[in-house]
Symmetry: C2
């Protein structure tokens, strides 16, 4: 047993990533405050070959030193777009056939391990660190999902929650692109 | 559909958490540099009712403002211990019957979704942000697991990786304590 070197991991170059087949998973960030969280989500989106990140409202956009510091350059591989209004991003995604899933604890949420999604591209919405997803945005979702939790705190860190939810949806599909 | 209020989520008080049944999952942090990552892992360990965090080497210990800022107080609910040497923590865990799993990309790693674990308590080791798990520590592990990745970067952020791996092992067991 020995640790693998970077060159043994068969990672893509940034150029190869841009050309490569992506998983049909879009990420929508609704007013994320922390650039650490934005950078970390870029890094996860890169690892799971997600097709697009929609940065909305107050969510910061690359290039920015504090995003790159956490993204470690994944802000240059993963495609992204900025929308001033999150609802406009959702409306666009809906018109292009995406199934819209809000990651939020609501009266209609399904637990992550129990959510069934149709065979179409999905968009996963993650909300502000304090306020979660805006109510107006939540009302546009086709489904709501929550990560079951058994502790003292309201929720997980948003970049950790994004990692878990993206892993859940990406892992069964990753072998097709690896 | 409406967002749930904190009091509707049935979260535990810190006191109730300490008394509550935990999942038999220990977390070992081998020289984690960032207090943001330590705090975030405390918050995840709280959500998934993990029994203990072993903070080793240069990993910072609570109470510390920068840990609490990210842990949001989960550093007061989840039990933790400090070991100067990570190998001492592993030796102790082994003597108490834990199955030791290093989260690292090695020549012997199994992909997360394919790892079979025995019916005994598990300890999950997470390594330094740059260097990963120390080789001496890796050699003490019973198994090595990696999260399959299809992007440009070497690895995920360690608190995101911890979230995914903890979710993987905790989610089938959470219903027993919820």
């Amino acid at each position: 047993m020995r640790k693998l070197k970077l060159q043994e991991l068969n990672r893509l170059s940034t150029e190869a990533f841009k050309e490569a087949e992506k998983l049909p998973i879009a990420i929508v960030l609704d007013n994320i405050r922390s650039m650490h969280n934005v950078g970390s989500i870029f890094r996860t989106a890169d690892a799971f070959r997600c097709e697009n990140i929609y940065l909305c409202g107050i969510t910061a956009q690359p290039p920015h030193r504090d995003i790159t510091k956490t993204a470690l350059g994944a802000d240059r591989s993963v495609q992204w777009q900025y929308y001033k209004k999150t609802t406009d991003a959702i409306t666009d995604l809906k018109s292009r056939g995406y199934h819209i899933i809000g990651v939020e604890q609501t009266s209609s949420s399904v637990q992550l391990q129990s959510l069934n999604v149709p065979q179409k591209p999905i968009a996963l919405i993650f909300g502000n660190e304090i306020d979660g997803i805006d109510t107006e945005v939540l009302e546009l979702c086709d489904a709501w999902v929550e990560i079951p939790q058994a502790g003292t705190k309201h929720s997980l860190n948003v970049s950790v929650a994004a990692g878990i939810v993206l892993w859940h949806f990406a892992s069964p599909r990753l072998s097709a692109v690896l």
